[in-house]
Subunit: 131 residues, 2 copies
DNA sequence: TTGACAGTTGAATAGTTGTTCAACTATAAT
DNA sequence: ATTATAGTTGAACAACTATTCAACTGTCAA
C-alpha cells in the first residue's frame, strides 16, 4: 500500500510559517504569549557559542587545570597527556573567546584564566550532572 | 634553509608522556599538584556531553520555550519556524538526555521540562555572556 | 473505513570540528 | 653562530552533527 503525504520540500520560510500556523490542534494563544519572551538571535548565538566552547573535554580540562594554577603549554600537554600542538590549538580557541589569557616569559608562554565566571558555570553544570 | 624538527608521529601514549615529561622548562611540582585535582574520565565526559547538548541554538530555544509552557511539537515548530521533523529530532535528543519529558494526549505529543536545573544553568551562562 | 492530521524515524547530505602532521618562528644556551 | 627547546600555524583527515527528505505509525473525524 502506498501513502501520499505532504512534503515540505523547498518551502520558503513564510510558506513553512503559514503551514505550521494552519494546523488544527495548535493553541495559537500560547505560541503568541511565548514568542516575545524568546531570546533574540544575537543572544541566542552568544549562548550556544559559549556552551559549544565548554562542550569539549579537552577544553574543560584546560580550564579546570588553569583554575588551579597558571601553566605553560608544555605543562598542560604533560598534564593532559596530549601533544603541544593539540593543546596550543585549543588554547587559541579559548583565548579568542577571552576565557584565557597568554603571557610570554622567556621560552614559555603561560596561560591563565581571564574570567572567573567560568568556575561558577562549571560548578552549576557539575551540580546538574551529579544529579 | 631546511629544519629538522621532532615529530610525534605514531608515538604511544607512554612515549608521548615521557617526551613531555623530559622537557627542560617544566615545573613538575605544579603538574603533580594539579593532577590529582583533575576530574575523572566519567565526570569529564558527563560534563562535556551536557555542554554539548546546550551548545545548539535550536535546543536552547526549545528549552527556553518549554520553560514558559509545555507545548506540542506543532506549536514548537510554529514558534521556532522549523519543520516538525527537525523539532522532533531535537526533542528526541533532549529527551534521551532526560532534560524534557513527553506525554501523548490524543493526536498530540506534549513536551515539558523534566529538570528545572536547566533554568539555573541557562541563567548562569546568560550572566557570563552578558558580560 | 477512509482520509486528514500529528508526530516519528532512518538515511542522506552538508557543514562543522578536533587532532595530526610538517613546517615554521622565537628564545635560550653552548 | 649554531643548536636545541617551546610554542604556533595551516592544511588535511576523520569523526560527528543538524537538517532535510520521504516514508512511515497512530489517532481522530466524517
Amino acid at each position: 500500500m502506498q501513502y501520499f503525504t505532504f512534503c515540505y520540500n523547498s518551502l520558503t520560510y513564510e510558506q513553512l510559517f503559514n503551514y505550521n500556523k494552519a494546523m488544527d490542534n495548535i493553541d495559537l494563544e500560547t505560541v503568541n504569549r511565548v514568542k516575545p519572551k524568546m531570546p533574540d538571535t544575537t543572544l541566542l548565538y552568544e549562548l550556544s557559542d559559549f556552551f559549544k566552547l565548554m562542550g569539549d573535554s579537552t577544553r574543560i580540562q584546560l580550564l579546570w587545570a588553569l583554575e588551579e594554577n597558571e601553566m605553560c603549554v608544555g605543562e598542560l600537554a604533560l598534564l593532559l597527556n596530549m601533544t603541544k600542538s593539540a593543546v596550543s590549538h585549543q588554547l587559541k580557541t579559548l583565548r579568542s573567546a577571552k576565557l584565557v589569557k597568554a603571557q610570554k616569559r622567556g621560552k614559555n608562554v603561560f596561560y591563565a584564566l581571564s574570567d572567573h565566571h567560568v568556575r561558577t558555570v562549571l560548578e552549576m553544570a557539575l551540580e546538574h550532572v551529579c544529579e
